[in-house]
C-alpha cells in the first residue's frame, strides 16, 4: 500500500484523523505504529516520556488491524479509535507488561490482567504503544524518578506537569496519538495545561478505576489526555460507563460525546471563577490569557458572568488534607516496612500526612461537602465555570522538587496551585483543561472549564467551540 503521508506527517495527526486516514487507505495501522516508534527512538531518550515501549505488541496489534480492514470486518474497523496508537500512564495495569507506578517499590510489578480502561481502549481499536512515565505513586514532586525526569518538550528543564508527566510530554512531542492519564487532584489537567494538550477529569463515577493503582480511592479518576477536544470526546466515549469490576461506577448511559460537538454555544452561561481568576500571585500572562479566552467565548455567543466560590481559595489544603491522608493509609504497610524504597519527596509527603489527626481530616471531609454545595449553587446559575488550570506556566524542575524550607514555602509551592484543580475532584465534578494561549516567552497556558455532575458533554461542547475559534492547539513544540 502506498503511504501518501510521510511518517513525520502521521505523528502530527490527531487520533481521529489517524483512524480516518487508516480507514480511507491513506496509510496502514502498521505505518502509523512505525512512524511513532521511529519518533520515540529518535527523541524520547531526551524527553523520557516512556517507561516501557511495547514495540512487538503494538506491531502485532497493527497487523491485526490492517488485516481486519482488508477483510472488511466492520465491527473492528468502525471502532472509534481504530488504529490509533495510544500510550497509557504507568499506573494502569497492563497484562504481562510492567506497571511500575513510577516507583522502585513496584519495579517487579507485572499484572495478569488489563485495567478496564486499557481493555476498553483496545476494544475501540486503539493500539497500545507503551506505558508512560509518572511521578511516583501518582503524587507529584518526585525528586529522583527511577525512570528519568520527563522533560517538557516546550522547554527542557521545565516540568511537563504532574503526575501524568509522561502523558503530557508524549502528547506535546507527538510520541502517541492519544493517552490516558490519571487525575486525582489535577494530575491529568496539570500536564495538559503545561504541555498545550487537552486533559479531562470526569465525574468521579463516570469511568472505571478497576486496575488503577489508587492514590485516593474516592477521588482517583482516569483522565483522557489528547491533542484535541474532539479526540478527548472519542476517548471518553470509549472508556466511560458502568463496570461491574468497579461497583462505584454509574449506570448512567454514556452519551455520544463526539456527536455533541456542534460548535454552537450561543446562550451558554459561563461563570468566571472570581477567587481563582483574580488571585494576586497569578502570572500576568495567565491572567491575560484567561481574560482573552472569556472574550472569545462571549464572542461566540456565551453569556459571561462573575461567580464567587469562596472555598476555592483553600481547596488545595482541603484536597491535600483528604487525599494525602488517604494515600498515607493506602501506603501504610510500605512506609512502615520499607520507606527507603520511596523517593524522598513521596516519603516525606506521606509521613507528614500520616500524622494528621483524624479530627482534622474529618473537618476537611465536611468542608468538602460545603464546597460541593457552593459549586452546585453556581451550576444553577451557569452551565460552565472557567478559570486557568494553573496560576502559572510550567515551572523549572528544581522549583517542584527542592526540599521545602518553611511552612510558608509549602503553602506557596504546594497548596496554591492545587486550589485550581482540586475543587472539582473534591466535589466529584468534571473539568477539562484545554490549550488557552502562551506566555510571552512561549510556555503553554491551560484554560480550565468545569461543569456539574455528568456535564462532560457540556464542558466539551464549550471547549470544542473555543478550540475551533483559536489556533493554540495547532502549535508544535520545538522537538
Amino acid at each position: 500500500m502506498t503511504v501518501s503521508r510521510s511518517p513525520d506527517d502521521i505523528v502530527f495527526l490527531s487520533a481521529a484523523a489517524t483512524s480516518a486516514a487508516i480507514r480511507a487507505g491513506e496509510f496502514t495501522a502498521t505505518d502509523a505504529v512505525n512512524a511513532y516508534l521511529s519518533r520515540i527512538d529518535a527523541i524520547d531518550g531526551d524527553i523520557k516520556a516512556y517507561i516501557t515501549v511495547t514495540r512487538e505488541e503494538a506491531l502485532g496489534a497493527a497487523a491485526d488491524a490492517d488485516e481486519a480492514l482488508r477483510r472488511g470486518d466492520e465491527n473492528v474497523v468502525n471502532g472509534s479509535l481504530f488504529g490509533a496508537p495510544v500510550a497509557i500512564k504507568d499506573q494502569f495495569n497492563t497484562a504481562g507488561i510492567l506497571t511500575s507506578n513510577g516507583s522502585r517499590a513496584y519495579a517487579d510489578n507485572v499484572p495478569a490482567d488489563d485495567a478496564t480502561v486499557v481493555a476498553r481502549l483496545k476494544a475501540a481499536g486503539a493500539i497500545l504503544l507503551g506505558k508512560l512515565n509518572l511521578s511516583e505513586l501518582a503524587m507529584g514532586g518526585t525528586a529522583d524518578p527511577p525512570y528519568g525526569t520527563p522533560q517538557n518538550p516546550w522547554r527542557f528543564g521545565h516540568t511537563p506537569g504532574e503526575s501524568s508527566s509522561g502523558s503530557g510530554a508524549a502528547l506535546a512531542a507527538h510520541l502517541c496519538a492519544a493517552s490516558v492519564g490519571e487525575d486525582t487532584g489535577g494530575s491529568g489537567r496539570g500536564p495538559a495545561s503545561y504541555c498545550n494538550a487537552v486533559g479531562l477529569r470526569p465525574t468521579f463515577t463516570r469511568i472505571s478505576r478497576h486496575g488503577i493503582t489508587p492514590m485516593c480511592w474516592f477521588m482517583d479518576a482516569a483522565s483522557p489526555m489528547t491533542k484535541t477536544v474532539e479526540d478527548c470526546a472519542l476517548v471518553l466515549g470509549a472508556i466511560a460507563g458502568y463496570d461491574p469490576l468497579d461497583p462505584t461506577t454509574s449506570r448512567r448511559l454514556v452519551p455520544d460525546y463526539h456527536g455533541m460537538l456542534d460548535g454552537d454555544i450561543r446562550g451558554m452561561r459561563v461563570g468566571r471563577m472570581v477567587e481563582l481568576c483574580d488571585a494576586p500571585d497569578m502570572h500576568a500572562d495567565v491572567r491575560r490569557a484567561v481574560d482573552a479566552a472569556l472574550e472569545t467565548l462571549a464572542g461566540l455567543g456565551a453569556e459571561v458572568v462573575d461567580v464567587s466560590l469562596p472555598l476555592t481559595e483553600i481547596a488545595g489544603a482541603i484536597f491535600v488534607g483528604i487525599a494525602d491522608t488517604e494515600g498515607a493509609g493506602a501506603r501504610d504497610g510500605l512506609m512502615r516496612r520499607a520507606p527507603e524504597q520511596l523517593d524522598r519527596a513521596s516519603r516525606t509527603r506521606l509521613q507528614s500526612a500520616a500524622l494528621v489527626p483524624a479530627k482534622v481530616q474529618n473537618r476537611a471531609m465536611k468542608a468538602r461537602v460545603l464546597l460541593r454545595r457552593q459549586l452546585e449553587e453556581a451550576f444553577r446559575q451557569v452551565d460552565v465555570l472557567v478559570s486557568p488550570t494553573a496560576p502559572y506556566p510550567a515551572p523549572r524542575h528544581d522549583a517542584l522538587t527542592a526540599p521545602f524550607e518553611s511552612a510558608d514555602d509549602v503553602r506557596q509551592r504546594f497548596f496554591f496551585r492545587r486550589s485550581y484543580t482540586g475543587c472539582y475532584p473534591l466535589a466529584g465534578m468534571p473539568a477539562v483543561s484545554i490549550p488557552g494561549g502562551f506566555t510571552e516567552d512561549g510556555l503553554p497556558i491551560g484554560l480550565q472549564l468545569g461543569g456539574g455532575p455528568f456535564a462532560e458533554g457540556t464542558i466539551l461542547r464549550a471547549a470544542y467551540a473555543y478550540q475551533q475559534a483559536t489556533e493554540w492547539h495547532t502549535r508544535r513544540a520545538p522537538v
Binding site: T203, F204, T205, F218, T248, S250, R251, R252, I314, G316, A317, I318, V320, G321, D324, M335, R336, P339, R344, R347, T348, R349, Q351, S352, A353, A354, L355, V356, P357, V360, N362, R363, A364, M365, K366, A367, R368, V369, L370, R372, P403, F404, E405, S406, A407, D408, D409, V410, R411, F414, F415, A427, G428, P453
Partner: protein, 66 residues
Amino acid sequence: MPTNDISEERVKMLADLVGIPIDDVDLPEVANRFASLIRELDRLQELDLEGIEPVSIFPDADGDTQ
C-alpha cells in the same frame, strides 16, 4: 493546634508514637509539611460545619451512588 508548637522534636515524638519511622535527614521537611498542612486546615475552623456529614462518594441524582 498552634503551628508554632510544631517543632521537629514533637513531630519525631508523634511519628514514633504512631509507628512511622522518620530519618533525621527527612525530619525537617516532614515537620515543614506537617506544620503547613495543620496551619492551612486550621482555617476550616472558621467554617460552620455543624450538622454536615462527611461523604466519600456523593449520591447520584438518579439514585445511583456517585
